[in-house]
Symmetry: C2
Subunit: 435 residues, 2 copies
């Protein structure tokens, strides 16, 4: 298939929340307590919520910069490409990349809304979280029907509230909700605990996909502060293997037959190994570990419940039948540094060399549309959904790389940038004094 | 190739050290302080060294038991299959499994000799460590020339002593030494620190392979004490990916051109994904992380320096050229629960279906013999090295499964055995009161 003929649905991108996002989604008495953007004397922008500053307004949102600046953490909206936070500019950026639809994870509230979970005032917390979800579903995704798979944040501190929120947003057409790769690391019970059953049941009933993004609980994986930062960047996706194993061996998948999880940004090339390993462990050990998958193998149960995705992954595509051809989806990771924007169709075409069209279609869009229940073709004819057609709709988008300045993690010549450099850079951002 | 025609060289097995092992390898004045085996009133055997008990005499050495007993931790030599600790019985067990040669990791001193490193008296420590290595090389492996790839333990607390030991054992024909997957977790500098340079240089000069076994520093990987123990068993091998990334991005491989590392028990099916990911990260990020591989890609440097291995891994074998056909080796993991003993040839034959003989030979023995510098065919003609011939040499080995009793990690019916059950079982063993 030619690049311009792909229909691309991405299941993992990110929105940088714009200032004023809560305005239309809160009753007047709550407005004053909503998170707000404050520009500081040093020119940086921070979110301020309940007296605390949240400076990482667009964590690693470096799209459109030259690669030399990928390590420079944006500290103000001026440094961001407008497509990161402006819905109309976003559509333009999607069009020039030939992307029909996408699912956006949050930035400042944390991947599963931990900012809200940390608030002592739980009425405030759930009010702001619902307003966030309403903004995301009605205003962000709702501005362009058929172009977004909306994603809700969970009130993760209360499974009953989570279940209510799943049902509430499902009525608005939202069938995806974010969750943690390891809630125990966030101070909640593990996924093996029956604590979460009301949430699983609601997702099971409503056909809502539980989306687990890398870095959503188990922390960043690093071996040493002295290690080159490339170690962390390399292993961060595959580290979701522990979450995949946790889900696979848990009672959850076997208790809730319709429940589906998406491993967001986890890659797929390691999955044939992982599933073979799981089946081996099952056959070798079930007699003393008391695991029981009935007449199935763990790999079969995995493929019934787990949606996977990749940015660019030739090994995974080559082994697509061992991964599970009906569960592989694609992601663009806009606006983060790993994104293939704006050349996604061309990069994918290389990785799809020799793959039959039927498989390409499953991976690029059919699986995503089915699992996440988006009826994109209701909103525009299929021919106008292809990469070439979308690109033709936005001929004026400026693709030139723009230097946005900022402070690199290290200016020391002759040595690799280390984990310590990058964590220090982020720690400094967090400790900026209030004004 | 038929199962009986394989020539099998395994690069990861384990020896359970027999009582009295230090006798012939220490001068008289040190004999009284050597670790010794003590049988306790409850019938259990422990190693006693400098007043401390080490109860896990043969950690998970459950070979020959029915699978229901794989979770029962051996607490006495009576519960062990003699092949685990008796060199003559070991050869019989290798023969019935068609294994020509093997490399044995230690049991009671820890994978990289941390028992010795923990001793305050460093003269005692290095004396016992050298005696251990002499026993391993001269008595264990030396009893059957050509049948073992000897492995030395490093005096890991002192890189200069490590270099001396590398050179000392190299003179005795030992070209493999154990090391940690993350020495920082053991209280030493990270592998990125120049601290280790004398050790790397000695290995580089002597052609000595640095063998890094899973679980040799970074601890066991688990998500929650509530998680089924199967989670830990499944991900333990692939967790070596963080060590692989650490090595790959470090200055070490690029500074020491002949240096080779073996990732022991890490599996291979995930490596095509990992190398593709590393190359992607390099291309996307090197301009701000300052990594420089010259005219090579990270994947090429990896294949020049890293030896991989697997127990049974169809996905890896199928993708052998993406892994690196000249660096893949095989392992048997005798006497641990994941071993394919005594059916290794038959199990391998299934995984090798359709693979050309030339590739089978590389993976089963040629790569291992070359990298670890064992000239096995000097000791016996090639025809007598094949699985079928070896099996014919030991017709009388008893292969019936034997119940050896012991305490299972959990006797509670109706639930999975958890991480907590297994760690409690091991913790109890460690806290057995002295007598």
């Amino acid at each position: 298939m030619k690049p311009e003929d792909f229909i691309l649905v991405s299941v993992d991108d990110h929105v940088v929340e714009p200032p004023g996002m809560f305005k239309q989604h809160l009753p007047p008495q709550w407005q004053a307590r909503a998170p707000r953007v404050v520009r500081k004397k040093d020119g940086s922008d921070v979110w301020v919520f309940e007296g605390a500053q949240i400076p990482n307004i667009g964590l690693n949102a470096v799209v459109g910069r030259p690669p030399e600046e990928y390590g420079m953490e944006p500290t103000s909206f001026d440094q961001l490409r407008p497509g990161t936070f402006d819905i109309h500019a976003r559509i333009g950026d999607m069009n020039v990349n030939g992307v029909l639809a996408q699912l956006c994870f949050p930035s400042f509230p944390g991947f599963c809304g931990t900012l809200f979970a940390r608030q002592a005032d739980k009425e405030l917390a759930v009010t702001m979280l619902r307003a966030y979800n309403d903004w995301h579903i009605d205003e962000w995704a709702g501005s362009y029907p058929g172009r977004f798979i909306p994603l809700a944040l969970p009130p993760i501190w209360d499974p009953k509230l989570m279940a209510d929120e799943v049902r509430r947003v499902a009525k608005k057409g939202c069938h995806a909700i974010s969750f943690s790769e390891n809630p125990e690391k966030l101070g909640f019970p593990s996924i093996h605990n029956e604590h979460w059953d009301p949430f699983w049941k609601a997702c099971n009933d409503e056909g809502t996909v539980v989306c687990i993004h890398i870095g959503s609980g188990a922390g960043m994986a690093f071996t040493s502060m002295e290690a080159p930062v490339d170690v962390m960047i390399t292993v961060q996706p595959i580290n979701i293997v522990t979450c995949a194993a946790d889900l696979l061996w848990s009672r959850v998948l076997r208790t809730f037959p319709n429940l589906k999880f998406a491993l967001s940004e986890g890659g797929i090339g390691w999955i044939p190994y992982f599933l073979e390993r799981a089946d081996y462990v099952y056959k070798h050990h079930h007699q003393w570990t008391f695991q029981d998958f009935g007449k199935k193998l763990p790999s079969e149960v995995f493929r019934e419940h787990i949606i996977t995705c990749f940015i660019d992954d030739k090994a995974g595509i080559q082994n697509r039948n061992l991964v599970g051809i009906d569960t592989i989806t694609w992601e663009c990771d806009y606006p983060h540094s790993d994104t293939t924007w704006p050349r996604a169709p061309e990069i994918l075409a290389e990785s799809f060399a020799g793959v039959p069209d039927a498989d390409v279609n499953k991976i690029t869009h059919e699986n995503a549309l089915r699992h996440f229940r988006l009826d994109a073709f209701k909103h525009r004819p299929k021919a106008k959904c292809r990469a070439g057609a979308l690109r033709a709709e936005s001929p004026g988008v400026d693709l030139s790389l723009k230097s946005q300045g900022g402070k690199p993690p290290s200016e020391e010549k002759g040595r690799f940038v280390s984990t310590k450099d990058v964590t220090t850079q982020l720690a400094t951002a967090f400790s900026t004094p209030a004004e």
